[in-house]
Amino acid sequence: MYPSANLNPSHRATTIPIAIQPDSLQLDNIKTHLDLVLLALEALLGSGSEALLQAASDLNLADQLGDRVTLWRLRQSNPLRKGTSGRKKLDVEEARSLVLISCHVAKQHQELIRRAVVLLEQLTAENRQPHEAALLGDYLDRFTNTYQERMVTDSKTSLALTHLAFKLLVDLLFYSSPNGPRRLWLALIERSMHPKA
């Protein structure tokens, strides 16, 4: 029985010790990557933010992310997002909540994620285009369209965007395991400290 075992998750979210306080640049990197992970999930599920909001409810995190507007404002904190209206500062607690939600949804849809990854492996091994499989084609289309629609235009080539989509897809598989939240959190911290790596 570990400490705080009698607390519900939302309570623990407010009492969890914050032993780190990332600087603004680090937090920006965390926001950016978290938003991309969520984008990949939404693109694969094709279900908008419903699954994320349901997960927030399942995890008793609705206080923080209970409605579409709050979630949108949190995700608008991604510095790569277009526009600044409604942008909200993302704090570490909110970042951790988004980590738990992302991994919860990934775990719920692990079979679908795995099938997509296996399809990608098979088609790649056969030197075929990934979009030949409807599941991958739809995912890629949704990811690319949403990315270009929401994010500040940069110099990413179509190829780089495709690779980003598939990198995030494979990452999602690893986040769907029981220790997925730990993996994602460590990855976020590591990325925030080495943003160029």
């Binding site: 519900n8 009492t15 306080q21 079979e111 679908l112 990854v117 296996v118 790649t124 959190w185």
Partner: protein, 436 residues
């Protein structure tokens, strides 16, 4: 009284099988030892996409198992920490120094290990080389190439095994001790108390462990096919299966960063260890822990098969031998359950062929609670043209079904062109097919 038993665990993700054997003793926990003594493991990489002769098997002891788990998890963490936008779009690459230096920075930062060290290297996004190090044999060779999904399966099996085999040590916390006492069967507590009272020494316990004789007294360990491991903490009421916030490790940043410590409760102020204790993760694992329980039951040797043999549903001793109608008799929960109706629908022989195909292969995942329904569109040559899930569960569990991929054969060639079949897979292992 000798209190030692053999224990066998099998972890079976889709592309590998990890088997663990150990000697166990219920008293070893009181002696501060792992319950799993003389642990040995066998790991088979049996991806169905591999040829028979490509199946690789390695084996080792506890230290090697832990080293393998650490290497795999560390490698995965480095993969996840890499930048998302590599310099090229290659999904599978031949590793060259130039390429690795370009977009595998998180990986090339690792010093090149010697050949005796278990380690991994990337060949692009979807391909990874696992170097066996001290686990290598003449048969296995020094390295195996793993796809991303195979790497995930390996990590899953190792994680489950590690959680189970390392969670069984003596709890250091008093509350854990008392909780463990409460969760133990009465006979265990009596036995432990009696052991202390009589003054059995640690050495005596160890000697008794080595005797190897069986005893029916180790009920909670041996009966693992029907009960969860006794050491896992109870899931928190009203929470999900995810680990709590506390299990997210806190990585210290450079000291120049301000610390927020004023609101930190004492119990949590200590920086989390790099790897959280297995207990917080335990609530998330019951589903996975249950996985090996089915195969743990006596099962024919399947290790040489490159393809997963159809697993036997719990309630049927030989589903493959049973006629379709007979196996349908057990179905109770879905509509159109009368076998007579189904056979009447078999106006096209391919419908019965498809039913037979899935009856031989369908094994419902333990977590499946709903019926899965699909519409399969077949090409004139009998291969699958399109798979359309008809409900959310069908979409979610698509990967667990034996439905062939598009273009792969399912039934014999169809006279009169294509055919649509409605496929209904039940959580009880039942299979129904109807023409549409």
């Amino acid at each position: 009284m000798i209190l030692s038993n053999s224990l066998f665990r099998r972890y079976t993700p889709p592309t590998c099988t990890l088997e663990i054997t150990a000697q166990t003793s219920p008293l070893s926990r009181w002696a501060g030892q792992s319950r799993f003594n003389q642990l040995q493991f066998q790991l088979r990489f049996e991806d169905p996409r591999r040829l028979q002769e490509q199946i690789v098997e390695i084996s080792g002891d506890r230290a090697q198992l832990e080293a393998l788990e650490a290497a795999v998890e560390s490698y995965i963490q480095q993969l996840l920490s890499q930048v998302s936008i590599p310099g090229t779009g290659d999904l599978v690459t031949e590793p060259t120094p130039g390429e690795q230096g370009d977009h595998q920075q998180g990986i090339v930062a690792i010093p090149t290990p010697d050949l005796q060290t278990i380690h991994l290297r990337p060949n692009g996004l979807l391909s990874h080389d696992l170097f066996f190090g001290s686990l290598a044999t003449n048969v296995s060779g020094p390295v195996i190439n793993l796809s991303a999904s195979s790497l995930f399966d390996l990590a899953t099996a190792l994680e489950e095994a590690t959680v189970e085999t390392t969670a069984a040590t003596l709890p250091s916390d008093k509350s854990q001790w008392s909780g463990l006492m409460r969760s133990s069967p009465l006979w265990t507590r009596v036995a432990a108390g009696a052991a202390v009272f009589v003054g059995i020494t640690l050495a005596a316990v160890q000697l008794s462990n080595k005797s190897g004789s069986n005893s029916t007294s180790d009920v909670p360990l041996i009966s693992q096919s029907t009960e969860p491991p006794p050491v896992s903490p109870l899931p928190l009421p009203g929470t999900s299966t995810l680990p709590p916030f506390e299990s997210l490790p806190v990585v210290p940043l450079p000291s120049s960063l301000p610390q927020v410590g004023s609101t930190t409760p004492p119990i949590s102020a200590t920086p989390s260890p790099p790897k959280p204790a297995p207990q917080p993760q335990k609530p998330a694992t019951p589903k996975l822990i249950q996985q090996p329980k089915q195969p743990v039951a006596v099962q024919p040797k399947v290790t040489a098969s490159p393809l997963p043999l159809p697993d036997v549903p719990d309630l049927e001793t030989s589903p493959t031998a049973a006629p379709p109608a007979a196996s349908q008799d057990n179905t109770t929960s879905t509509t159109l359950t009368q076998p007579a109706n189904e056979t009447a629908f078999d106006t096209v022989p391919q419908v019965a062929e498809a039913r037979s195909f899935f009856q031989e292969r369908w094994q419902a995942p333990p977590t499946l609670k709903q019926t899965l329904e699909y519409t399969l569109t077949l090409n004139p040559n009998g291969s699958v043209q399109q798979i359309m899930p008809l409900n959310q569960a069908a979409r979610t569990y698509l990967d667990r079904t034996p439905i062939p991929l598009r273009g792969e054969p399912l039934v014999s060639p169809i006279e009169g062109g294509s055919l649509k079949i409605r496929l209904v897979l039940g959580p009880d292992g039942s299979v129904k097919t109807f023409p549409q």
